[in-house]
């Protein structure tokens, strides 16, 4: 298989947090009624996860599902599996009112790792990032500075940020600036 061309070639930055553009993330958008039993069952068959509740994430090993809106979920798997899984899902959902598309190449994914992760995100998004308000298992679709983004936490010090590939360079510059060593506010670690 040909090499996957990342938007920024796997750029990374080390500051308040370690920022890395992730390779190999497959993403499949599913539109449809997320409470429809037929849709829930097919997603379970193909991706091995139950569809998440409102603003939640569900993971099962390398696959996962993120709640995007009452009728949209972002299904995660490895990049190499994404097209096959999307095709499989679309075939099995042929009789349901649903749409499936592989958006892996339309998005960029960044991982933020470090104890200051909450602060870096809080600088950019209008979201309450206090540990009581935002926890692993939640996903938030919002904006980061001027572009649409979604992020979720994998553990207490790791988050993943998804944005459109076309704004990947902007997002990386943004995250790097917010993670500049000289810019610590120490709001959450005080």
């Amino acid at each position: 298989m040909s090499d996957v061309a990342l938007a920024l070639g796997g750029a990374s930055f080390d500051g308040l947090v370690k920022i890395e553009e992730l390779a190999g993330q497959g993403m499949v958008t599913l539109r449809g009624d997320l409470t429809d039993k037929a849709i829930v069952k097919v997603v379970k068959d193909v991706f091995g996860v139950t569809l998440p509740g409102i603003r939640e994430t569900v993971f099962a090993g390398s696959t996962g599902a993120l709640w995007m809106s009452p009728d949209e979920a972002l299904l995660l798997c490895s990049y190499d599996d994404a097209q096959a899984k999307a095709d499989d899902l679309a075939t099995k959902l042929a009789d349901s009112h649903a749409l499936v598309v592989n958006v892996s190449d339309a998005r960029a994914v960044f991982q933020l790792k470090g104890s200051m992760m909450r602060e870096v995100i809080a600088k950019l998004a209008p979201v309450d990032m206090s540990p009581d308000a935002f926890k692993p298992g939640m996903v938030r679709r919002t904006r980061m500075a001027q572009v649409a983004a979604a992020f979720w936490m994998d553990d207490a010090s790791t988050a993943r940020v998804v944005c459109f590939r076309s704004v990947a360079a902007y997002m990386f510059a943004l995250l790097s600036t917010a993670a500049d060593d000289a810019s610590a506010v120490n709001h959450f670690t005080r």
């Binding site: 409102i54 603003r55 995007m68 809106s69 009452p70 209008p126 679709r141 919002t142 904006r143």
Partner: protein, 109 residues
């Protein structure tokens, strides 16, 4: 700052995450309507100082359109409700009546 809770995703979203969509509950007049009705539909908008019903879209979020009842004077939000309705729900009207006795908005009071 205006903070409106999206009725679809439950996020208390601040203004920059939203986009205003103008007055709510407009009745559309199209072909075969009278000139007066069409003019009213197209141009005549409420511009109250006080209780107002508006459409908003959670544009940097779940992307859904919804309705909000708020006070344009104090930015107090009385409540939000889903888009699939042609008039404000009773519980929101009750809240407004309690907080702004005697309010009037078009033919709602």
């Amino acid at each position: 700052m205006l903070v409106i809770t999206c009725p679809y995703c439950g996020v208390a979203a601040e203004e920059t995450e939203l986009h205003g969509g103008g007055e709510a509950h407009l009745k559309r007049f199209g072909p075969d309507s009278s000139d007066d009705d069409f003019t009213g539909y197209l141009f005549h908008r409420e511009n109250p100082k006080g209780v107002h019903f508006e459409r908003w879209r959670h544009v940097n979020g779940c992307g859904k359109w919804f309705h909000a009842a708020r006070c344009t004077n104090t930015l107090e939000v009385f409540g939000t409700y889903k888009a699939q309705t042609t008039e404000p729900p009773k519980d929101i009207l009750d809240t407004i009546r309690a907080k702004r006795p005697g309010f009037k908005w078009r033919d709602i009071a």
